[in-house]
Assembly symmetry: C2
Homo-oligomer: 204 residues x 2
């Protein structure tokens, strides 16, 4: 049993209760045995070419995943603040070498989630199985939106979509990383921010 006082509203047990909808006893039973690690800002949790059998759930801090393009330029794939999962699917689900890097942008505390856990959790709780299925579909839907933005949206529209997706990251992430995520130059991002400020736009 985890003492109530130790349940951090941002930890994985709380996520299983509040977001997935599991009863407290099931959430604690599933969450308690999981491996947890702390990483300092700048730590690399996964390198391209490595093999890894788990995804990361962020209890505290902020991670990002990125790839290097042919010219060695970083392309940000995803940010993962508290209560987000981050994973390289090539290695976790297909046992290939990782295609991406995962880095801590802030000091972070993460939980390791492997396939054994996912299978066990789905067996223990049908709620978890259904939730996980929904999560996958939602992830695909979000990626489709991003593809559509990359194919046809202005820099401003991409930036507004970023703010909607990651409302609390604007001050936590360097501008060049946001520009990389959006597929625009840092100069374009700077121009968009000035134009929005001129229109008195304030992120809510």
């Amino acid at each position: 049993m985890i003492n109530n006082e130790t349940i951090n509203p941002k930890d994985f047990t709380s996520y299983l209760m509040k977001t997935v909808g599991l009863p407290e006893a099931e959430a604690e039973q599933l969450s308690f045995p999981l491996k947890r690690m702390r990483y300092e800002k700048g730590s690399i949790l996964l390198k391209k070419g490595e093999r890894c059998n788990h995804s990361f759930f962020v209890e505290k801090g902020l991670l990002r995943s990125f790839m290097l393009d042919e010219s060695g330029k970083e392309q940000v794939i995803q940010f993962a603040p508290e209560n987000w999962f981050i994973v390289d699917r090539s290695t976790v689900y297909f046992s290939d070498p990782s295609e991406s890097y995962i880095e801590a942008i802030e000091d972070s505390e993460v939980v390791f989630i492997n396939e054994d856990f996912m299978c066990h959790a789905a067996e223990v709780s049908p709620i978890f199985g259904r939730y996980n299925d929904k999560l996958l579909h939602n992830h695909i839907r979000q990626m489709q939106k991003r593809i559509n933005l990359l194919l046809g949206a202005t820099a401003e529209k991409r930036y507004l979509s970023f703010i909607e997706m990651y409302p609390d990251l604007l001050l936590r992430v360097p501008q060049w990383m946001i520009a990389s995520y959006l597929g625009i130059t840092p100069e374009s991002l700077s121009r968009v921010r000035k134009e929005l400020a001129h229109k008195n736009f304030k992120p809510s």
Copy 2:
């Protein structure tokens, strides 16, 4: 029972047996009751704003999904030749109005796959449940690759990736649709094709 003579190597029963790995009896039991429809080339199977509770499996022919951007320009999301699924996730899994259109590029025969089928099939066959899970992860992996190509790859690299993904579509799909899928202009696509021909590149 479906008579063996009627099993088309490209139909859904055969897909369940050969690709998913189900025994013949299970595959027939699952596939036989499903709704099937024929569509003429140019038919719109789903319009933006409509609601729909099923995805489409292509037994014969070729479908595509697309969106309209703010200027009314079509953006091709996906092509679906024989043995592919195509779906608007917003409406099927989240009960929102569809965000995309689905159109038959050729005369096509499709099977309607709804959530009841997916749940039933996963209950009847654990093999199907695991396969479906793998399919979702693979879809996410492919979308991630596409995002990376859109963020940082040359037109040539995008085109070569298209050929790898859809090896038999080069002669079945109009060039402007391929350009739209790749996020490049038809002029760029034409240039890339000429340059590849000059290098004696032949799609295998």
